[in-house]
């Protein structure tokens, strides 16, 4: 509908880490490795930070082009940068 200036977070973000999902993903990729309990949470932290950076970057891209919405191209460009950064 119409875009309002305020973004109301009526839907509250869950702060739980999808530990089962993370473990499953890791197992699918690297079945010969094991993931420890605490490292599960740190992986979640890493994902959070990655997503955070990605969102910030996309927002900046959108702002620079004076768009009110984040478009696919913004996200793509941001992803390139951030993925490169989080290569490790």
């Amino acid at each position: 509908m119409a875009f309002s200036t305020t973004v109301s977070q009526r839907k509250y973000i869950k702060r739980k880490a999808p530990r089962g999902f993370l473990k499953r993903v890791f197992k699918r990729q690297k079945p010969h490795l094991r993931l420890e309990t605490s490292s599960d949470l740190l992986v979640h932290l890493n994902c959070l930070l990655f997503v955070h950076r990605l969102a910030e970057e996309s927002r900046m891209n959108a702002f620079e082009n004076k768009y009110g919405i984040i478009k696919k191209e913004h996200v793509q460009a941001a992803a390139k940068v951030i993925l490169k950064k989080s290569r490790g």
């Binding site: 305020t6 977070q9 739980k16 890791f26 997503v51």
Partner: protein, 538 residues
Amino acid sequence: MAESYNRDSEPTTRTLLRRVLDTADTRTPRRRRSARVGAQKALLETPSSRRLSTPTKMNVRRGSHRARSIGRLAHVHTSGNLEEQTPRTLLKNIILTAPESSIMTPKSVVKPVPTPQVAQSSRQESSRGSLELQLPELEPPTTLALGLLAPGRRKQRLRLSVFQQEMDQGLPLSQAEPRGNASASSLTSSLSLNFATPLQPQSVQRPGLARRPPIRRAVDVGAFLQDLRDTSLALASPGDSLRTPVATLPTDTVLEDTQPFSQPLVGHSPNPGKPAQLLSGKAKKVDVLAVRFPNNSSAISGEDGVEPLQDGVGEEAEERMEESLSMSEVMGSTGTQGSVRTEKSKGHREMTEALEAKEPEGSSEDEDISGRTASPELASSTTESLQARRPQFLEPSPPPSTTVLSSEPLEPLSTRHPPRARTHGPRPRQDPHKTGLSHYVKLFSFYAKMPMEKKALEMVEKCLDKYFQHLCDDLEVFSAHAGRKTVRPEDLELLMRRQGLVNDQVSLHVLVERHLPLEYRNLLIPCAFSGNSVFPAQ
């Protein structure tokens, strides 16, 4: 001591034991030992008890044992039978310390007396097993303590007896109890439930509806509509379909309702499992029907945005919901899923098509599809959706509640629903992965604080996939470098350091504190606790 107690005419356990002990006392030769024990006690209790002052080693050992046992048992018991923990002594101590109750009425529901008896006998049994714990003190305090224990237990038993009274008096009430039929514990728990639900008499008249108090539904609908209005004003759930310029009508596309048993409407594909097929070309119907059913649709997708048409449509929706409610009530008692669904499906096929057709095909987030598959019916969606939020409790309840939509906010539940035979083969494989990713996608839209396109969200999903691949590779390399096959937190720390997130200014703990909730923080950051212990251990 024991002789001073009155012998009850009724043969209670206590009296029997007393008699045994009294008669047995006279025969034991242990009295002779008592004198020796008394002398040794005096010796042993001195700090020099270790010295071999006693003539034989045996005596010393026995004496030390006795000292220990004496230390544990009450000093007051001067009977002298406490040197060794024989069954006799144990029972005697029980009798001495356990409070008396002379009254014994076998089964009087009115009096709470049997319950203390029950409590006492049970306590006696338990105390036999763990005597030492109960008799470390002097006699009066123990009786006081146990006396204090008794009322507490009496209270619990009292509640039970009260409930038993109610049971005897008003069986229909207890029958109307949803679950509290089998055991006492459940009865007591349901007792509190009983008080909380004043709707029991109504449900008694309609036994089939015992578990679904009708009044709640009405409230839910109203509250839900209110909610919808608020959301409509408030606007945007980020990243959802409605913001697309494609969306002509605000009604939700996302709401697809999967009706696996839905009858084919007007030559539409009746395929229940592929709502995507129904997406094709129903634009005409959409306009007509969409107006009418935004409420129901939005009921399903709670997070989807809000249609301004709600107010006008609200009444209509309510009517529909009322009739669907009545329908469901009628059908509910029979418990036939198919019939109910077909009934409702006829009523709501149009809605489903409308909704599905509106879904912009390009977007078709799998989440929506999964939401669709999980939510078969729109009928009485509001009430049912709210009921669906108590799915575990109402599992045996009539089908409409089971078929309730787990609306969009309950998306993770959709992974539970695929076993309900609504999805095809390949879908479940993708779905859990997507629903897991969707968590991070939602976080993305939350962090972005701006409205987003659907395509952008898909892009984010792809990025996340790539990111996870990179992550796993890196972790593998790091752990292999350390000669391990398990990924440990140190590997993660190294990874974050290399990513530049952790440096000398910002440590890992700082990041943990900033971004993770408290429960995870406690698990990750070692913290000192009392007793010189650190958790988690390093």
